[in-house]
């Protein structure tokens, strides 16, 4: 039967609450309202005010409170209402959530899940569409996971809640209400495994979260141009699956990395750097990146200009030097050498 990602996440939370008394779900408007995206819909009614509750409006408070609850033996799952509204919690996340296990040689662990609805494409106004995954991926001690399919949404969230380490669980807003023919519960590949969503011979598109559907669409469109593209879904940014991705690129010899976030010093840069480190002699062209512009996320009217779309992906694929001519794109600013 048909299920949305929102429903899969909601069911994963319900099943986790039912399976383990130590699981508690809290945040802003997650109780009676069920969350502004309804991901916690019905949980308070079913599990009671103690297990699913609203807190004072303070994100550092929410995350720090979760740290304390975890110290007492619970398994908190907190919701940040929107990506940019997790920033007030950054110190708690970077200096405590990420480091407490290490600071105590594993005596204290912080099995917290921080759910972050992120990225755009939903016509949201300023501060509601940030792609903040790189901030967390660059912080040792955090796991960073982002589902692109309904099946993964359920399975990865259950795994995140069971995981002994803190997980920043990045939920692509624009995929919340896309649905798939699937029956819950689902169990997909574990953390640390990327998945080939579409096999192809000519080039590899590496994407995660909101960029995965874009990659698949582009691969479809590329067939007309005669390109047979492989699409790899990263799924878990930390831990990262070098093997699957390197294997794919070694096979295809070409690679484009796609992310919605602003490009500079983003996760896509890490992927591009890793791929060329590992696949240099298999590459026929540089690893190219398609990313959001290096600007503050622009509100509804112009978000389509910002978002990496099929055309930009195809442009990049076209620049993968099929004629084995060096890419002229950088010549303008490059030195003559």
């Amino acid at each position: 039967m048909s299920t949305t990602m929102a429903k899969a996440l909601n069911t994963a939370l319900a099943d986790a609450l039912a399976a383990d008394d130590r699981v508690v779900v809290f945040g802003e408007d997650v109780g009676a309202l069920g969350g502004v995206f309804r991901i916690t819909d019905g949980l308070q009614a079913r599990f009671g005010e103690d297990r699913c509750f609203d807190t004072p409006l303070a994100e550092a408070g929410i995350v720090g409170f979760a740290v304390g609850l975890a110290m007492s033996g619970l398994r908190p799952v907190v919701e940040m209402q929107f990506d940019a509204f997790a920033y007030p919690a950054f110190e708690q996340i970077a200096s405590h959530v990420a480091k407490l296990r290490n600071r105590t040689r594993g005596k204290l662990s912080v099995p917290i899940v921080i759910r972050v609805p992120y990225a755009g494409g939903i016509g949201g106004v300023e501060h509601h569409c940030d792609s903040s995954e790189a901030y967390y991926a660059h912080t040792p001690g955090l796991k960073v996971v982002t589902p692109a399919t309904v099946e993964d949404a359920y399975s990865l969230l259950r795994e995140a809640i069971d995981d002994p380490d803190p997980v920043v669980f990045m939920e692509p807003k624009k995929l919340y209400f896309g649905s798939a023919e699937t029956a819950l519960p689902t169990r997909t590949e574990p953390f640390g495994r990327a998945v080939v969503r579409r096999p192809g011979r000519d080039a590899t598109l590496v994407a995660y979260g909101p960029a995965v559907p874009v990659a698949l669409e582009a691969a479809e469109a590329a067939r007309e141009e005669g390109w047979d593209l492989e699409v790899v879904d990263v799924r878990t940014i930390v831990p990262f699956d070098d093997e699957t991705i390197a294997a794919s690129v070694r096979r295809t010899g070409r690679c484009v990395v796609i992310q919605e976030a602003q490009g500079f010093a983003g996760v896509g840069a890490e992927i591009a750097a890793r791929v060329q480190e590992r696949c240099f002699h298999a590459l026929h062209a540089p690893v190219l990146r398609v990313a959001g512009l290096d600007i503050p996320y622009p509100a509804p009217m112009l978000e389509h200009t910002h978002l990496p779309g099929v055309d930009r992906v195809l442009d990049a694929v076209a620049r993968l030097q099929w004629d084995d001519q060096p890419d002229s794109r950088w010549a303008a600013q490059g030195s003559a050498a």
């Binding site: 109780g31 004072p56 303070a58 016509g123 501060h127 512009l293 290096d294 009217m301 112009l302 442009d315």
Partner: protein, 388 residues
Amino acid sequence: MTTTPQAVRRASPRTRRAATPPDPARPLLPNTEPVRLLDPTGTPLPARADYPEPPVEALRELYRRMVLGRRFDTQATALTKQGRLAVYPSSRGQEACQVGAVLAVRDTDWVFPTYRESMALVARGIDPVEVLTLLRGDWHCGYDPTEVHTAPQCTPLATQCVHAAGLAHGEAYQGRDTVALAFIGDGATSEGDFHEGINFAAVFKAPVVYFVQNNRYAISVPLSRQTAAPSLAYKGVGYGVPSEQVDGNDPVAVLAVLTRAVAHARAGNGPFLVEAHTYRMEPHTNADDASRYRDGAEVDAWRDRDPIARLETYLRARGVLDDAAVAEVAEQAEAYAADLRTRMNEQPTVDPLSLFDHVYAQPTPQLVEQREQVRAELAAARDEEGDA
């Protein structure tokens, strides 16, 4: 014989009071009951020395702008239904706060609004189309903050409390007697930035009025989840900031209390905290479903405390407002709304390349590169259209 008078003096209450030091909290604490100058029916309560009633002309102007403000608000809500606005947070029911507060400050003072203050901004005289620019889907705040002395509407909660402290201190540092009026909601007082902002203002004696519109909800979360304090106005004493609470649906009281708070700040006495008890009649935004967290009975109860009806009744009773005047204001409001409607129906033109203009004063080489890419894409798209 000689000992008696001494004995008496020693025993006298006055001496005893002098012996125990006065409670330093007293002058900072709010009145235990919200200040109220009109009862809910619009009947005047006994005049009070601490909050003299504002002049009648001010009250008539207050009435006029509240009517305009509400009409603006209903028009904006209507525009969301027609898809002309991406989202709109209504402040219906909070007219006394929205309008009363901005009437208490000068044009040269600075206002720090949240997303909730669209009505306050039009009451301040800012072009409603500019006020709605962001909400209709553009990427900037619409108005020129330096011209209207109003910060962009602030969404990251409570962050504006610190900006207001800095602006106020900077103005004083430069010898100007500007006051900063910072709006904030009940829920946002739980954020660390509220604490840091009011504390900075207090330590630097910055002329800021922190105006908390306690409308009892933060989206769906009731006040009881935000604080265990007797009321939010009791937060001031912890910063050494004098505080007051006011009936936020009593326009006369709101204007009176804000006027005193602004005078306090402008006189160089540092910040002042005001909590207004009010209620949001509409959902949090048009996208919200309030039935999930509050029942109609509660909303109905507040309908009886409508701030506009309350002021109208009072002004009519005082004989300074008659049917003709009421009709004229209503007309103005309709004209205002009609103008807004027509102007909002024109689809604004936004240039994609403008996205690169204000990230930095001068775009970085990386942005120039990206702008050229977008320019090329747009050209290609135009060509295709041309071919088609």
